[in-house]
Amino acid sequence: METLLEFLNNGALGNFTWGNFCMLVVGGFFIYLGIAKDYEPLLLIPIGFGMLIGNIPYASGMSIGIYEDGADGGQASVLSILYRGVTQGWYPPLIFLGIGAMTDFSCMLASPRLILLGAAAQVGIFLTFIVALAIGFTQAEAASIGIIGGADGPTAIFLSSKLAPHLLGAIAVSAYSYMALVPVIQPPIIKLLTTKKERLIRMRPNKPVSKRLRILFPVIAFLITGFIAPGSINLLGFLFFGNLLKESGVTERLAATARTAFIDIITILLGVTVGCSTDASRFLTPASIKIFILGATSFMIATASGVLFAKLMNLFTKNKINPIIGAAGVSAVPDSARVCQMVGAKEDPNNFLIMHAMAPNVAGVIGSAVAAGVLLVTFL
């Protein structure tokens, strides 16, 4: 009888904390958002369930927890082993491989000028970096927080695993949360910064893109970005490699696996381990709160600068751009492109913005990876 009580005490019940309780609620909420609201379910459900796993309280030293990595001489726990892909940073490039193999860059190739919108949205990263410095984060931490505005989960995880591992959980969770909340965050900002007249602008349908261009693009784009920002080759190398596998026409079987089984497996492992890493004692800190606020700021600045830059471009071109699609520059592929479509359709149901929005959308992925490369080499 005592044994039983004692056993239960050493178990979850004995070590329960309100922090764990909060995190369990958050985890459940993530799962709810994913299922009921269909917000990025492929990310929120693994992360949410991971939060449940990571916040079951127990007496440590049984090599169960994700932080028992055997550094203390004990046995490395299973979770800590699967978590290495995050801490060592090799899950993100593999996810980029799959994204490259499933991304069709033709929309972007069809109207190259829209690529600049993907650059403009990265302003959010750097301004947030300054703000984070201002409120007392170290430079490396500030850089990792700023990248949240890149709206690319894998990029954020990759950079913070290198520059600020202790903040990885908070950064990853807020990055993915805001990516999931894109349909909530962006529309008001877009409406605020554009006139009805601008939102009604129709853009010319794209001309088709030649197969050769689609094959040459990943190679050339990789060389350009690699030479200018070598720090980005880990991410962009795999992104463009995956895209070449897709476009080459002779490696379809590799591309097919990369965009299905391979990316699915990594997504599962990344999501659940990132979720597990949000142990209340490490996650529920003032720093995390700040990170969430800064992350939101970063997202909004990014959206705004994308839209404003589109309006700026319109001053110098006669073939007008609908500034709505500037918001797609934050990437968060393809959600923000869909948001642009919806916002545009509100004004004119027959205005097909999504094909145009995809251009800054995918360009934004490249843009934030380049920015990450810059920050990496600056602070590593």
Binding site: M102, T103, S106, P205, V333, P334, R338, Q341, F352, M355
Partner: protein
Amino acid sequence: MPEWLNFGLELTVVGLVIVFGALTIIATAISFIRRANDAWQKHEDAQAEAATQKEQNIDTITLLLISAAAATMIQGRFHIKSIRRILPANAQRGPWSQQGRAVLLGSHVVSKKRQ
């Protein structure tokens, strides 16, 4: 009674209490939810409609995608009246699958002329 037997029996009792305890609580929880379900049913049906709404919504997206692509090809000379839905209602949703559709679509647009 030898020490090992004593220990063994004790662990057996504790273990079985925990195993039965856990599964009994699960069983109870399940039956509770099942009973609560009827009450929820009404609300669920409401949700279900909302879901179909959303479903529609997503189809609209697809529709727009297709129209856009078509427009791309025919330079907007014609107009699309209706499109037969090729994906089952319960097809994978979520960004990536959308993306997937876009991909197929994109390549399709191109293939028209070049492949």
